[in-house]
């Protein structure tokens, strides 16, 4: 069992890492990574409860949940990448032995109840703080991936002169995209704390915090497959002392607390009498940890969830009403804000697969209920209208998956020129850097009376808010052309193309407009832009 588990756990971890690497480094198939995230029952269930929408996206998580009836918490021990990470750190870290006696207690059930109540009564998705696959994705995509890219770049810079001398052009001119995420230092601290706790007890997060584990525990009370102890047992208690999950009562090593057992096989490999095996259990039920539930605990957690949900929702709306966030830009295809926040698992997957790195987790820019949710930040980069990766990768449908044509029409905002700060308007100089880059040809020029050079204007019905102009604007802090969320299309269903057309938008890319441009002449009395009299 132990060997099988090592192989399975490693294989699933490699799959997780490979899908993530494919999505982030190689820019391939973001959908598959989203599918992996959907295995997380807590992430999926809380998003579904919060948004009151049960979709086909929940199917993988439902299967994982049902697997607990047969396999117990095999998912935790064999599949979960967060668990694999903890196991790896446990092996790497030395630990005082007495730590193993720490009892898991009911904290994680409390957390689960809290999340459910907040979702049901507050329509809030707070699973992001604690869902294992959301955490694991952020750990690898937003903490380790940037760190690795940084190291890789250092190495590249080191070898470049040599490669140039030797004529290895592909190395000499290789460029590494160094991703940057606004919250990554917070995440460093979070994970440092979490893994420091691994010194106290094995699988600290798994045992004390994980809401997905709690859900699986509820269905793992009497699994069909599980740990079996034969008559050969000498009650030496070695297994009970070594169990990383404290799933074996010391007083009765023949028993198993199946709601804790992750089928790791440690007991089987350690048993001096060879009395432990894993397989189909013969009838008799297992045991549940007696402290798992208390009525008081359930009520307290539920109450906390309700109060927190109300508090968060209240604070969120009071502190910053939507109208007060004109520059918060959601990714293209993002659902209407309330539904978006209810679904968003804050896993960071969309930001990690974003090829321009414009998608960034926000702090409180979206209110206290929107911490870590993704936003387009044109100052860093533009949101490529030909890219559909964020929607494709989203595990909860908070960002809808879009076809290329739908994506082009999935308007995220509108650019506006600040004439008081613009190089051309206020400085009366030649510039038009915004016009140069606009993928929709929505920046138009004119030359008002008294201006020697052309000045920019935004044709709002043709602007999708991609932010290429804002990124290119030479004026900094803030740019003189800036995208606001005005006229953003936020649809929970239906076609963006149709909705956009109904509103009179004309969102076509430059290439599509090539045919129907007029002769391109300016009136005879006017000069071509950029020319002197």
């Amino acid at each position: 069992m132990r060997a099988f588990r090592r192989v399975a756990q490693t294989a699933f971890f490699i799959l997780f890492a490979a899908l993530l690497a494919a999505g982030t480094v190689l820019h391939l198939a973001p959908e598959s990574q989203g599918a992996f995230l959907r295995l997380d029952p807590s992430l999926t269930a809380i998003a579904a409860l919060g948004s009151r929408a049960l979709t086909v996206l929940g199917l993988p998580a439902a299967l994982v949940l049902l697997s607990a009836l047969v396999l117990g918490r095999a998912f935790c021990g064999h599949v979960c990448p967060m668990g694999a990470t903890e196991d790896f750190l446990d092996r790497a870290a030395s630990r005082s032995r007495k730590g193993r006696s720490l009892r898991p207690g009911s904290v994680r059930y409390g957390i689960l109840i809290f999340l459910v109540v907040a979702a049901v009564f507050g329509g809030l998705n707070l699973s992001y703080g604690i869902s294992p696959l959301s955490l694991a994705t952020r750990l690898y995509a937003m903490v380790l991936f940037p760190a690795l890219a940084f190291l890789f770049r250092l190495a590249l810079d080191l070898f470049r002169p040599l490669a140039q001398d030797l004529g290895f052009q592909s190395i000499a001119f290789a460029q590494v995209r160094e991703p940057f995420f606004t919250t990554q230092f917070f995440l460093w601290a979070l994970f440092a704390a979490l893994f420091a706790a691994a010194r106290l007890t094995p699988r600290f997060f798994c045992r004390f915090f994980c809401p997905a584990g709690a859900m699986l525990s509820l269905l793992s009370r009497k699994p069909i497959l599980g740990r079996r102890v034969s008559q050969d047992c000498t009650r030496c208690g070695k297994c009970a002392r070594s169990c990383p999950m404290s799933a074996i009562p010391v007083a009765e090593p023949g028993e198993t607390v199946f709601s804790e057992c992750i089928l790791c096989g440690t007991c089987e490999s350690l048993c001096p009498a060879g009395a432990v095996s894993f397989g189909v259990r013969a009838g008799r039920g297992g045991r549940v940890c007696s402290t798992d539930f208390s009525r008081r605990g359930v009520l307290a957690a539920g109450l906390m969830g309700a109060v927190s949900a109300a508090g968060l929702a209240g604070a969120s709306t009071l502190l910053a009403a939507p109208a007060a966030r004109p520059f918060l830009l959601r990714p293209p295809g993002a659902m209407p804000e309330d539904e978006f926040l209810a679904r968003c698992a804050r896993c960071g997957q969309c930001a990690a697969v974003c090829p321009t790195n414009t998608l960034q987790p926000v702090w409180t820019a979206a209110g206290w209920g929107g911490v870590f949710s993704p936003a387009v930040t044109p100052d860093l980069a533009f949101c490529d209208p030909k890219c559909t990766r964020c929607g494709a990768s989203c595990p909860t449908g908070a960002i809808r998956p879009l076809s290329p044509q739908e994506r082009i029409w999935a308007r995220i905002g509108t650019a506006g020129v600040d004439r008081k700060r613009c190089v051309a308007w206020a400085g009366r100089q030649a510039c038009m850097a915004c016009d140069e880059v606009c993928p929709y040809d929505a920046v138009r020029f004119s030359r008002p009376e008294g201006y020697r050079f052309a000045v920019p204007q935004v044709a709002e019905k043709s602007c999708s808010g991609c932010g290429a102009c804002q990124h290119a604007c030479p004026v900094r802090g803030p740019a003189a052309i800036r995208v606001s969320s005005k006229d953003a299309l936020r649809l929970s269903e239906g076609s963006f193309v149709e909705a956009g057309r109904r509103r009179g938008y004309d969102l076509r890319l430059v290439a599509e407009k090539q045919e129907d441009t007029p002769a391109g002449a300016v009136p005879p009395e006017e000069l071509a832009p950029g020319f002197d009299p």
Binding site: D157, F173, A433, D435, E436, A472, V510, A511, G520, G530
Partner: protein, 305 residues
């Protein structure tokens, strides 16, 4: 007959035709006698490029054995030749091939693109076209590791610029822009194109676009300018969509200001004709002695293939 042979043959025909046109029987002599200031050749992009350089005296006049050459096309957008916003790939590959034929020790095709480097190199068709000449020529550099600060001694508005190291190391620079309008700079040709060899361009917009272009051209002037006017984006440049005309011409000169000036004077811009002096950076470059915009006083040799 492979592509290379075909092009050579075409260029040979161009030489003969040019010789015949100039009334001299021996074409080689015709060029050694007096190289024109500007060469204009109408024809297929690759062949016209080769012929235009031959008319100027051949690539050997510009690129010596062992020279390190940088070719600067416009590949800033993810659009191909039809958009007229990027240089025709065959113009670039013809130049690269001629440089290697003249004994260049290295040829690099460089640009700091406005959009994703990979997509730009691919969608413009420039990387594939150059791959037929030699591998690893085309690079869209945007990582600051590739740039180095260069002082601009006599700059009017700029004191320094972050320029590609490979450009500063190069013995020869060849400008290979596409001819197009530019709502800020009037036109985007050889001189404006040099901005693509710089890392931080925002400052050039803030300090004055035309002035900055001229300042930049004082430190990295092109030794040869080959303007791709096979298609010209006469309005709504630099990105378009706008009116695209197809003169099918390539305009070459050892003087980048002259090449730009001639291009300005040759085509309509937004439906009207303009004088080179109406483009501020061309006029300033002329006044500073960087090159000449008085195309009426320059010798022009034209040819139709």
């Amino acid at each position: 007959m492979d592509r290379r042979e075909f092009l050579k043959l075409q260029a040979g025909a161009a030489l003969l035709a040019a010789g015949a046109a100039s009334g001299v029987l021996s074409p080689g002599k015709a060029f050694s006698q007096a190289n024109p200031d500007i060469a204009v050749v109408e024809g297929a992009p690759g062949a016209a490029t080769r012929a235009s350089v031959e008319l100027l005296g051949g690539m050997g006049r510009f690129v010596k054995k062992g020279d390190r050459v940088v070719i600067k096309p416009n590949m800033s957008f993810t659009e191909g030749p039809d958009s007229a916003s990027t240089t025709h790939p065959e113009v670039v590959s013809a130049l690269a091939r001629m440089c290697l034929e003249s004994g260049a020790s290295s040829v690099l095709v460089l640009d700091n693109t406005l959009f994703d480097p990979e997509s730009c190199m691919k969608k413009t068709g420039i990387r594939d076209a150059c791959a037929e000449v030699s591998g690893g020529l085309v690079h869209a550099l945007s990582d600051d590791a590739f740039f180095q600060e260069k002082k601009i001694e006599n700059g009017h508005v700029l004191t320094d610029a972050l320029v590609m190291k490979d450009v500063l190391r190069a013995d020869k620079i060849i400008a290979a822009p596409v001819a197009k309008s530019h709502s800020g700079a009037g036109v985007s040709l050889s001189m404006k194109g040099m901005m693509g060899l710089v890392l931080e361009r925002g400052i050039m917009h803030r300090k004055g676009l035309h002035e900055s272009i001229v300042d930049l051209c004082t430190i990295i002037p092109a030794h040869l300018a080959v303007v791709d006017a096979t298609r010209v984006l006469t309005s709504n440049g630099p990105r378009g969509p706008g009116k695209v005309i197809r003169p099918g011409k390539v305009i070459a000169s050892a003087d980048m200001v002259a090449a730009d000036a001639y291009t300005v004077a040759s085509f309509e811009w937004y439906g009207k004709m303009y004088k080179p002096r109406q483009v501020r950076h061309i006029r300033m470059a002329h006044e500073q002695g960087l090159g000449r915009m008085d195309v009426e006083n320059l010798t022009v040799k034209s040819l139709r293939l």
